[in-house]
Amino acid sequence: MKSWNKPSLFSIISMAIALLIICFVGSAILAIIAGGIPAFKEAAASREIHFALRLSVLTSTVSTIIVMTLAMPAAYALTRTPMPFKRIYSLIIDLTLSLPYILLGLSLLILFSSPWGKWLKAHHIQVVFSPLGIVMVHLLINLPYALRLIRSAFESADIHLEYIAMTLGATPLTAFLTILLPMCRNSLINAFILTWSRALGEFGATLMLVGVTRFKTETLPGSIYLNISTGQNDIAMATAMIMLVISGITLFLSRILTDPSRDKNRKVGI
């Protein structure tokens, strides 16, 4: 009879970490669901929560589209072209990843409160305490993150396929559009979904730049913060539950859209 192998130290550590995560995250999720269910109907019908949901989804979607549009060509330049000062450029981009978000929010606040920011405001471009500021925060926080994800996807894609495409008549741009992007499809979808989710849940830097004003700059995380501050814990829990549902849907969508069994390039036994 086959006997069980004794688990190694590493597998015991892995199992312990998994158990800890399940305990902490699982209990938090259970607490949110338990606390949120009684007020869920009320929250779901609330005009304020509708506004926060709409604002969150809208700003996250707009910022993610801008981030992806900027990150793809930037990642291409960093991985495929002999641009000068590439290392310094990468370092500067990565720097924002290591800074606390509250600091990034503060830097944006200082920037847009400067004479230059006031000049923008005078020309009807108001960033501080406005939804545009939320998009701006998302851009600053998510652009380096998405760039890192896309860059890593481009680096792992075989450059020789683009070379071959060029010998077959493709320009570098056509090779990018017809070869590199489709080859990195799953990574790009994942990058979009992860960036969007991060934007949806962003709070610290947003609070610093635009604050949380009801029916003006109130996003879902902002709404949770406001309701907790005013002692409406049940509404806050219900709002958190809505965010949980959105996270579940994005995770599901991500799995469906990047399902390896739908990959036409799958290897079968040859």
């Binding site: 075989d158 020789h160 396929l161 070379y163 071959i164 495409a165 060029m166 010998t167 077959l168 008549g169 493709a170 320009t171 056509t174 017809t178 070869i179 489709p182 080859m183 499809r185 036409k264 390039n265 799958r266 290897k267 079968v268 040859i270």
Partner: protein
């Protein structure tokens, strides 16, 4: 016959590797092999000829025109890698039709030409299959068909048969020779297999450690005498006494 491809004092550096100035000429319609160990610079020379990166010195003339400053898409070269280099997100039909599409060939003409070359390589039955699902031999034939469909002046092959079993390799050799007769293109191919070089090519260049050592008629590869380095590469010991 006239020299169709002329490489004159061409050198290139890639990372830590440096290809010393190489000069050789390939005649029109010739099958020319570059033989050498792994890491000797064979692929670098081929890739530079196709325009994948610029050289340091020298020039590459194709039909008398220096192609060093010409974009890869305008060089009229086809390229096939050892690992086929097929686009994984396209079926065989669209892989082979890719070049025609890039050159804006009408759709009907694309279909006709793709089917014609698929028949020549006996792969029409798998036209809607994806590269990841088929055998190495089928993938290699598709890669050759894709490179040849634009009727390139020069076909560059980078160890195209090394990953195939002997029977498949023999079959594809025959198909390549037959297609070469039909399409009349010049072929420059890289290999480390003496037998393959002798079987397929008219002439052979031996490239070792980034330096071109000699160019010989393929029939004389094993009968000629060379310097110590080449003799060692060919597996022959030199009696120094």
């Amino acid at each position: 016959m006239s020299a169709q491809l002329e490489i004159k004092d061409f050198s290139v550096t890639r990372g830590n590797f440096s290809l010393q100035p190489v000069s050789l000429s390939v005649e029109e319609g010739e099958i020319f092999a570059i033989l050498g160990r792994t890491g000797s610079g064979k692929t670098v020379l081929l890739e530079a000829a196709s325009g994948m990166f610029p050289g340091d010195t020298g020039e590459i003339l194709l039909n008398g025109t220096n192609i060093c400053r010409i974009a890869p898409r305008e060089r009229q070269t086809g390229f096939v890698y050892q690992d086929h280099g097929l686009f994984p997100h396209m079926d065989f039909f669209h892989n082979i039709a890719y070049g025609l599409k890039m050159h804006k060939v009408p759709r009907n003409e694309q279909i006709r030409r793709v089917h014609e070359i698929m028949d020549a390589f006996s792969i029409r039955h798998i036209s809607h299959q994806y590269p990841g699902t088929l055998s190495g031999g089928e993938r290699q034939r598709a890669a050759l068909a894709r490179a040849l469909i634009l009727r390139p002046v020069l076909l560059l092959l980078d160890e195209p048969f090394s990953a195939l079993d002997p029977a498949t390799r023999r079959r594809i050799h025959e198909q390549l020779l037959s297609v070469h007769r039909q399409y009349k293109c010049t072929i420059l191919f890289v290999t480390h297999d003496f037998q393959e070089a002798v079987t397929l090519s008219d002439r052979i260049a031996i490239l070792l450690d980034g330096r071109l050592e000699t160019v010989v008629e393929s029939g004389q590869l094993l009968t000629n005498h060379y310097n110590e380095k080449v003799e060692e590469f060919l597996g022959r010991t030199i009696d120094h006494e």
